[in-house]
């Protein structure tokens, strides 16, 4: 995602709340401190499809917001 961002594409990372500190630190390490992190509830692994859809429902509006902001 860092490479895509550096090439001018709109990119974002889905990140569960438990991993937000790691995600934030890694964005800085890879030179894209403003890389959008789409925050969802932990965990993402081991979920049934209903829960996955629920997480997607939380992430999608954040993604749309990122895309609109980047395009404006």
């Amino acid at each position: 995602m860092a490479q895509l961002t550096k090439r001018g594409l709109i990119a974002a990372v889905v990140c569960s709340d438990t991993f937000m500190k790691l995600g934030t630190a890694q964005a800085k390490v890879f030179g894209v401190p403003d890389l959008p992190l789409l925050k969802i509830q932990h965990p993402l692994g081991g979920l049934n499809m209903d829960k996955v859809i629920e997480r997607a429902g939380v992430a999608l509006p954040q993604l749309i917001k990122v895309v609109k902001e980047k395009q404006s």
Binding site: K21, L22, A25, V29
Partner: protein, 371 residues
């Protein structure tokens, strides 16, 4: 190359605190530069003594350690080696291990940040291991021996202090492992019926080398009864076969560390290492039906569909990918025990030989002393 004195004058190169040992301990723990245990204060004088056994530029990174990708220069590594309790002559082995960890196939980034309880297992071979006092006998994976304890600890401290493998932010291990304090062994080459690991990896016997593996804690195999190769190996296979191992799902190179007595029994009928690997791969299996239904449907049927999409429930699941990927060593002292060491999975062992600047294998650690 900068002089040590000049490097220590750089902003942030040094910090000051009370010289009382308890105060130093408190200070370093508060800073997060710690594994939780007391350390030797890395004063400039001690760091300089450590660097007496370094033939590299002191300010050139030998590896950038993820997840921070901090530059692991000899100077910084030496500070961690002092903290860990290393003698200066251990220092080339600490550097060597970190260089091996930097090799791409090891996947240091993944192993540092994963939720899985893995840590670098350092396996030393060759004459230098004996020269610096690395234990390969009784209690080889336990406490007491300074070289094993301090070299493994120095590597771990570097991974935390330089790489920022800090629990909860950079090291996301769910539970971790006690092996994260240190996991450093030498192969008991004198007691092995087979060629040593570094020779198997293509190096001459007189070379000294480290092999690094992203390992879990060792799991014991107790067998006081078997007198045949098949007996010992059957007990090993039973210990290896478990549903929770990463190696059942991913590539990776787990380790079978035979105790010398078990190794002698296994080799008594003439079995070579390759035959032992093949035997264990064939026999250390679990029928697909023993895994949870969700695991079968979501992992085996989908993610491992090339093998298991329509596989019957009695299909054997092998405990690692290919027979030859098993790493076999002989280590430890007297007794009827061996150790099974599962690994992270998305990782490969990396072996690196200890060489001088001119490319020759190091025959004595003192060849690397400056001046």
């Amino acid at each position: 190359m900068s002089s040590l004195a000049a490097m220590l004058q750089a902003p942030g190169a040094m910090v000051q605190c009370d010289e009382d040992p308890e105060a130093v301990y408190e200070f370093l723990c508060e800073k997060g530069w710690s594994d939780g245990l007391p350390v030797i204060p890395p004063t400039p004088e001690r760091v300089e003594r450590m660097l007496a056994y370094c033939d590299r530029d002191l300010d050139q990174a030998v590896v950038k350690i993820p997840p921070r990708f901090g530059a692991a220069t000899p100077l910084r590594i030496a500070a961690n080696a002092v903290m860990a309790g290393c003698k200066p002559e251990y220092f080339p082995l600490v550097l060597l291990a970190l260089e091996a960890l930097a090799e791409e196939q090891y996947n240091l980034y993944g192993t540092q940040a994963t939720t899985h309880p893995c840590t670098p297992m350092l396996i030393f071979n060759g004459p230098i291991a004996k020269e610096v006092g690395l234990n390969s006998g009784n209690n080889v994976m336990g406490n007491y021996f300074r070289a094993n304890a301090a070299i493994g600890r120095a590597v771990r401290l570097a991974l935390v202090n330089i790489g920022a493998a800090i629990p909860g932010t950079g090291d996301m291990a769910t539970a971790g492992t006690p092996a994260k304090f240190t996991f450093c062994v030498a192969e008991n080459e004198d007691a092995s019926p087979w060629e040593p690991l570094h020779v198997e990896m293509g190096l001459p016997r007189e070379a000294s080398a480290v092999t690094v593996i992203a390992a879990e804690s060792p799991h014991n195999v107790n067998d006081h009864e078997s007198t045949s190769p098949e007996g010992i190996l059957t007990m090993c296979a039973g210990t290896i076969a478990n549903t929770g191992s990463n190696n059942a799902y991913y590539d990776g190179q787990p380790v079978m560390a035979f105790g010398p007595e078990h190794a002698q029994t296994v080799a008594s009928g003439g079995m070579k290492k390759a035959e032992v690997k093949q035997w264990l791969w064939e026999h250390a299996t679990i029928p697909l039906s023993k895994f949870a239904n969700e695991s079968i449907e979501r992992r085996f049927r989908r993610k491992l569909a090339d093998k298991f999409a329509n596989a019957p429930l009695d299909t054997p699941v092998h405990m690692w990918g290919k027979p030859e990927d098993l790493v076999i060593i002989v280590t430890g002292g007297a007794g009827k025990h061996s150790q099974w060491v599962p690994t992270f999975g998305n990782t490969r062992a990396a072996t690196r030989a200890l060489k001088r600047a001119d490319g020759e294998f190091v025959k004595s650690i003192h060849e690397l002393k400056r001046g």
